[in-house]
Symmetry: C2
Subunit: 593 residues, 2 copies
């Protein structure tokens, strides 16, 4: 019906007859003339309709916001002084000669223009209107382009797109599964996959050599801001390659597609060990755009009589660390109190600080409630280690290592953001040398990734000292987001058995949970590995948003509901009977149903 | 690890040192030398290992079928007389110098070579081994290539890949839904989508203009040979285009990708009305490779006293049709009996036939149990209308129109296939002008497609004579498979209300089922339409298989189970309690649990 998209018109179309189809974004009457801003996916064009063209004018006069029109007319340069450099089409306008109303529209629940003060709940409930906003269209277009660029890259590299099942068994990630009752197998359930992990490994054993898939995954967890019950993974697996080759390909994939889609130069990705990341940044997904670091000061504190520091300093599982914030001396008491509340979320019992006002005067030039407990000597040694300068503030964390890392790691990002200390727009890196296992609360060991991750050591070394063993896993981190991660997998049965033994997973449980993969390993499994990217997160980074719901066309709320379709919904009794299930009502609520 | 895939080696590599990684497909010892056929995704290469290279020979000697090896050596032409023209790499062999055993393998449950006598159940249970067979690898590779070609085409045409939810509400297709209990919304359920129909229409209302997605869809139905509980659709929707443009694009998509991936020239797709297809082929998905047609003979039968024909001939809802099969006179009595049984599946009470032996002798030259009932005169008039020739057989169907169409339509394909009457390899077409509605058993009307399909008529015309109304729907049929279908949708609220009125869908039910789409239609819906292709079926056609499980890596059986992973499986009580459901056990079986 159209000859051009609204957004593509420019001076090169001067004098041409064109037909646009789109929505009335804005209508103004000015000097007896009607101005319509016509909008479609590609942008907005201004259409002028003169009373001379009677029929067109009469129709345009009826048109209201969001009416769907087809307009034919001629492109002309805008009169001098009316050029709008904020619009892609701002140098031209169309003189409309024929107007057809393709559909009318009620007044939408909120304006497409200047939406910002509309709450997210209203936006999600009226998602169809919300998605009309140019900002949202841009995000969806960017997402589509990124997905397409990723697929092109993978296709070119000889990776095969193989679809894996959605109706399947529980997978080894260990989060809560979404379940689907089976009608034909009474009392049994499918699980929606948390990832295609086992299937992609089986595809390697089957000899497909290079696999990828852009695939929906599911986790029935309580949702954080950057999580959704269904999310999309770029899932990759390859045979006969080691971690350096897999990481090289994955890095090139992200660099190539970010450049192609967003014009972004990510540069080289440094490699950092897990241990170094935890030590310097308190996090295994450090945001390296922020130049702040944690510095250990336990050795200096060990002698002080101040229990808050002395205890953790002498505890082998404790940590005492300092975080120097350049320019932080100007923080108000109120701001510091807020940060104290902030670190308490992570279990920190307080937040000690020292402001550096006049370092040339020694401890007298510092301001802090804790110097009297530390003593001048220790205080100045700390200042020296941190190379503290006038105008800095130093925060302290002293607790179990885990608490200090989480609290100071999060504080580092928060203060860095609040004070806008970013030194670069993009800070990608690889985290490597993860521990194989972490301790559980009851003193056992659990796999830090999943039990198919290969260790860097032999089965004998692994068994001798599992707590110290490192894995061949790797995570890609960009600007503090873990955007992807994976590992070289175990392809050897003896090694797999060793890991299961260390994890205390009995033969029966192995067979029940992963039997089909273990069977596959017996029949000639190649060395293989891979990784998975969170597509939603990559798109969030590209779009510069920290709201995952802004990069998903039809997202769910944090209580896992869709406000647009009112999903989940009621179902009738026949359906449930067919599925051999019934709804469990607790006695208290039974009467109200 | 490798320098080349096994399958890519040829004479151009003569003299080069190469490294292969792959599986031992076959091992022979011959004249003190070990021959290994090494297999990977791209094919098979012969490796010769000489006892001179002691270490390599010792390792190769240990290798058994399906061991995973890395072999380095030199490519050389095969000695004269040993060139194998059946192999892509048959002109060369590799002289192996270094062998590394990357993994051992137990003897697989069946041979990768010459699998054909392995039952499908064994293949599905050992799918990882089954997928190693070169035939299966080819099918998965073809599928991946087709998907990629489809996406490239859609991307180039400006279609946006937008993901729609998997956890959603019941959709309007009307088959049984798979349900997912919600943990956070007690007693409520998500449904897995039977298609993204409502979402893609909403994307059009939101202004995305051109949408596509390669997307999993779900139907909890009893399975036929070409159905799976989860299947993949190429889902497409576009705004501001009419049916001719949508069909033109869809046709070009299939032609372009079949050419690119399979080297197949599909030619032009003729358009045929639903009425003509039913009349000539008894089916709305006629296989036009078979040159047989149904011919109405009711007018000739109306006068005969034979009840079997007379009744249907005089019934306005009856049909009497003949199917002439060229060369069919040679069918044996046994074969005809089998066809009689075959048509009884479709409700036919019998299968009358006339063999044409010596047409020059009139009715005396015919052989049939029914001529005596028809009389010579009517018989010869029928022969004349059919232009029957010696060697033909004519089958008859006389019953309700629906029964005749289904029985003779199916017989047409069966006989055509049995006698190999195909006149071409590829016979695509479009079926158009579908009825808007069909009668339900209780005399009401139901939508032949879905209630959002636009009619060719105005709301007034539609309401005046709904039974005769045609829709703007279209199906693409290739070789008797419905590979895709769609329609122009209703974008006008008044028309939508008219259709709901005719379908007797009350306001409340409308709101409950489709309220969010109906709301969307109020705010400026553009004219739009689209279609969906069954990707699995397209791949089946490309691969020349009629078994959908051969084109899906991890398919389910006809009872909707995965023999490899044993899905669906048991789940524990805690999970069910979290989901607020319990398993319903019927009293009879309660004791056994």
């Amino acid at each position: 019906m159209r000859s051009h998209y609204c957004g593509e018109l420019n001076l090169s179309h001067d004098g041409q007859e064109v037909t646009l189809c789109g929505w009335v974004h804005r209508r103004r009457d000015h000097g007896g003339v009607i101005f319509l801003d016509m909008r479609d996916r590609e942008g907005i064009a201004q259409v002028v309709i003169d009373p001379d063209t009677e029929e067109a004018f009469a129709l345009a006069d009826k048109a209201r916001s969001e009416y769907v029109l087809k307009i034919t007319g001629f492109v002309r340069p805008r009169p001098e002084g009316t050029v709008n450099t904020n619009m892609g089409t701002g140098e031209i306008e169309m003189l409309g000669k024929q107007v057809e109303i393709l559909n009318e529209a009620q007044t939408p629940p909120f304006q497409i223009e200047g939406y910002t003060d509309v709450g997210e709940e209203v936006r999600l409930k009226n998602r169809v209107i919300d998605l009309r906003r140019p900002e949202m269209q841009e995000k969806m277009i960017l997402r589509s382009k990124l997905t397409s660029a990723v697929r092109s890259y993978m296709d070119e590299q000889g990776y095969l797109d193989v679809e894996t099942p959605v109706l399947t068994r529980a997978t080894p990630e260990g989060a809560r599964d979404y379940l689907v009752p089976s009608r034909t197998h009474e009392g049994k359930f499918f699980a929606l996959p948390q990832s295609p992990q086992l299937f992609k490994q089986m595809l390697m054993v089957a000899g497909f050599d290079r696999y990828y898939q852009v695939v929906k995954c599911f986790r029935d967890e309580d949702l954080r801001a950057d999580r959704q019950p269904e999310f999309t993974q770029i899932d990759i697996e390859t045979s006969f390659q080691d971690e350096s080759q897999i990481m090289g390909m994955a890095e090139d994939l992200v660099k190539t597609t970010f450049k192609k889609v967003g014009g972004i130069e990510l540069g080289e990705f440094p490699h950092m060990t897990f241990a170094e990341a935890m030590n310097r940044y308190g996090s295994d997904k450090p945001d390296l755009r922020i130049p702040l670091e944690l510095v250990d000061v336990a050795d200096l504190m060990a002698g002080v009589e101040f229990k808050v520091f002395k205890g953790p300093a002498e505890d082998p599982k404790g940590r005492v660390a300092a975080l120097k914030v350049t320019g932080g001396a100007e923080l108000s008491r109120k701001q510091i109190d807020d940060y104290t509340k902030f670190v308490s979320i992570y279990g920190a019992k307080g937040l000690a600080w020292i402001k550096v006002n006049e370092i040339e005067n020694g401890a007298n030039g510092l301001q802090s409630p804790i110097i009297k407990f530390l003593g001048d000597d220790v205080t100045m040694k700390i200042m020296e280690r941190l190379d503290a300068k006038n105008g800095d503030i130093v925060f302290f964390g002293a607790d179990k290592e885990k608490v200090v890392n989480e609290a100071l790691g999060a504080l580092r990002c928060k203060v860095g953001t609040d004070l806008n200390l970013f030194t670069t727009d993009w800070a990608p890196l690889w985290i490597i040398d993860f521990p194989m296992f972490e301790e559980t609360d009851n003193g056992g060991l659990t796999a830090l990734h999943h039990p198919f991750t290969a260790p860097t050591s032999t089965p004998e070394e692994l068994e001798a000292n599992p707590a110290e063993a490192l894995s061949r896993a790797y995570d890609m981190v960009i600007n503090g987001y873990e955007v992807g991660g994976g590992s070289v997998r175990i392809h050897n049965e003896a090694m797999q058995q060793t890991v299961f033994r260390i994890l205390n997973i009995e033969e029966e449980e192995q067979q029940e949970k992963f039997g089909f993969l273990l069977d596959a390993l017996k029949y000639g499994a190649p060395p293989h590995g891979g990784l998975a990217f969170g597509l939603d997160r990559l798109v969030m980074l590209l779009c510069g948003t920290d709201n995952i719901r802004d990069v998903i066309a039809f997202p769910k709320t944090q209580s896992a509901a869709c406000l647009l379709t009112q999903a989940p919904g009621e179902v009738d009794g026949t359906q449930l009977r067919d599925l051999n299930i019934r709804i469990r009502r607790d006695p208290a609520s039974a009467t109200s149903h």
